[in-house]
Amino acid sequence: MNVLIISAILGVIMLFSGVLLKQAPFLRFIAVVGMAGLFIINILEISSISFFKINTAGMLGFDRFALLFNAVVLFSTLVYFILSARDMEKVGAHYGEYFALIFFIICGVVLVVSFKSLLILFLGIEIISIPLYILTGSDKKNLKSNEASLKYFLMGAFSTGLMLMGIALIYGATGTFNSVDMKFAADKPALLTVAGMLLLLFSMAFKVSAAPFHFWTPDVYDGAPTVFTSFMATIVKAAIFIGFIRLFDEAFGSFNKQWQTWIAVITVATLFIGNITAVFQQSVKRMLAYSSIAQAGFMLLAIYAMNSDAKEGILLYSAAYCLATIGIFAVLAKMSDYSFEGFNGMAKQQPMIALLITIFFLSLAGIPLTAGFLAKFYMLKAALSSGSLWVVIFAVLMAAVSVWYYFRVIQAMYFKEGQATVQVSAFFKWTLAVVAAAVILLGLFPNLLLYWYYF
């Protein structure tokens, strides 16, 4: 609750400071401090110290799971601000507004992860989406950015329509918007229910860019300014996943046999398309767009399995995926050449940056002793205990394919001759090192995060 209100206030503050104060360093300072403050407030709320008590009539539920995920989101955004805030300045003239929009997105994230009513879910997703359309098109002079924004807006509006339709049908079937109060016949749900559930499934799949609803993703991620791609592909995607898992756990959990097969098909298709297409990309940015589809495929395993391991795992997965991808994008945003060749010989020019990027890619690939491994480990464990072995084997084979494209960057940096270099400050380097350390620490001691889930 605290985070929701204060981040909305911070958004407004940023909006006005963008007009009143013209100095970029000052705006940046407010944003970073504000985000750090939000993180602290959220930690306080986890330790049950809260400033506001507002009766939401059961439409919002701030349980451990939601609060912990908020902590992951806020920490990642803080890291994102520290690493990439300078690059936002290059995008366009409206520096303050970019921060304001991100704070509003955080509001939407909080709504999506703690909704108890389908209306709040809808509201949250819209609050996330509309600022994102703007951020995607924020590079106004760039045709690709415009195209991406328009494409995203049209497709997004369409999927929102589907979602509303689904909510309406579910309301018709159950007579309530409250996800916890819904009663369904477990063995043979009504046609209205199934239709509504499928519409919701499709629109959520669209939002997390699961196949076959992923077609917008590469173009939008590629066209958007790289700094904002970083934010969209990580924090926003993970947040919608939490909403997804909550929706299917709390609302539709009672007839999971009906939708498990659907999810399995979507999972397998997403894993396949994401990984196989990523292999053929020539640009690292586009490869990361497909990699985000592939990672979404792995996260879908949590919804497929839907047990306690899956819920723990998705927390860990979001943290691992967000931190590693934000780290890579932060470096990418500072480079001029996005092709794989652009990374040639970076190990010689910038040994430390090359090492840190390697750690991030190893984590994304799921090599042990990184957070990415444990995240995948949880997903496989969850899917194995309440799903089919073949889905798990398929996921594992696709994880092996992912090594193919992640390691191409490592090969370029270490084993190929070239002059790739990036201009980074010492502060940036050490922040990145802290993020990499966090990735390894989470891989060694998952308790650092999961402890809070239980106590």
Binding site: L380, L384, V392, A400, Y414
Partner: protein, 508 residues
Amino acid sequence: MIPVLLILIPLLTGLATFFIRNEKAIRSFILVVSIVVLVISLVGIIFFRDTRLMEHHSAFMTVLGSSLSLRLDGMGQLLCLLTAIAFVLIFLSSWDSLFRYKKANNFFALMMLSQAGLMGVFLAMDALLFYFFWELALIPVYFLCSQWGGERRIAVTFKFFIYTFVGSLLMLIGILYVAGHNPDQSFSIDSFYKAKLSFKEQSWLFWLFFIAFAIKMPVFPFHTWQPDTYEQSPTPVTMILSGVMVKMGLLGVIRWLLPLFPAAANNWATLISTLCIVGIIYASLIAMRQDDLKRLIAYSSIAHIGLMCLAVFAHNTIGLQGVMLQMFNHGINIIGLWILVEMIEKRFGTRKMSELGGLAQKNPSMAIFFVLIALGNIALPLTNAFIGEFMMFNGIFSSNVYDGNYTIFGTIRLNANSFATVYTICAGLGIILAAVYTLNMIRKVFYGETVTAIAGAKDIRRYERLALLMIVIMILGIGIYPQAVLNITNDVTDSILKISDLVKDLKK
């Protein structure tokens, strides 16, 4: 205590070495450290009765049901000793040539990290920990090969990496499944042994594990990465790969596969033994046609490993003891061969047999060492490999795990006993072929007409001589008194066979 030291010393040394800039100092530092590790592993063998020294348990990832438990059992002692010896030999033999590698500190650091990973694999008594070390041993080797290898190194090493990664991920599924289906829901090896798995579960779990191990060994048809990788890697890394790393696969089969899925192992023994036999003959035939020394030895290694895998699945004491002994012998012998190949390549700039000849005239001591080690490789009596292979043949011949009644051409009937006979004969054929290509190699390289390229060649240097002398002493020493090694692994062999026998009846 000792297991922790065996992992920590190389690990910390490796991490520290990244930051040492003085190249001359690194060389001595690393040699000293590897000798210290060797001494510790010897201490481990001497004080094997003191269980406090041999075990370590501490909390690690308790939320997942895993813990940091290490134990130095007989097989671990032997393989840790092999690892420690191998690294000393590698550093000694390439003492003068190590500066050919640019950024020597990174090279040494990665070598030490891979040693830590290997030690961990041999010591881990917890499935998740085992998996961690299994991967950790691979990553430094990947970087070593890709950075310092031959011309085609990037593509070849990548193939190797993807291959092993697929295998280990499949194994991860298996590990997860068994961890979820044992009474304690834990990853420790004792709980794994207690898991009650039906025959059907065992059958598919077996393959998830076996593919990982088969790729690592490698067993036909999972071997295609191996010759290229051995050829393209820098020779010190090839020594690690062939001398020590392939034993990870064998150890996996012996420690994790047989006791966990005995009924399935029994059931699939015939199929896998047939694959091994095909691999032995096929690799030996290809080895005969090779011109490149490195590729020849690589293929010969496939044949040798195939024989060991065959003997593991024979599932009796003498066969398993033979494998234990032979794991050690094969490591020593093949490292000896690589050292000599490296010397030849360094001096004459080529590994092609067609461009070499008559080396014995200018390099008599090199020729003597080469012949001695090559004789070990083809298992002549009084060499170490003879004992090992003799025991393995004995095990295969007396094995009763092969099943099925087949009739070929309507006249020849095969039953369990005749299978054992056929396998023994085919494996024996592999030995004969080994003699053919090894002796052929000696003839072409060391005798015959002297090639002009070798005119100004120098004979062996001091450190190389030391390393080769150690190898020859071990070859002959074990050949004459193998009991010393067999005593180490006696208990392990018995306990593994006992564990797997207990559950074997499930099949019936």
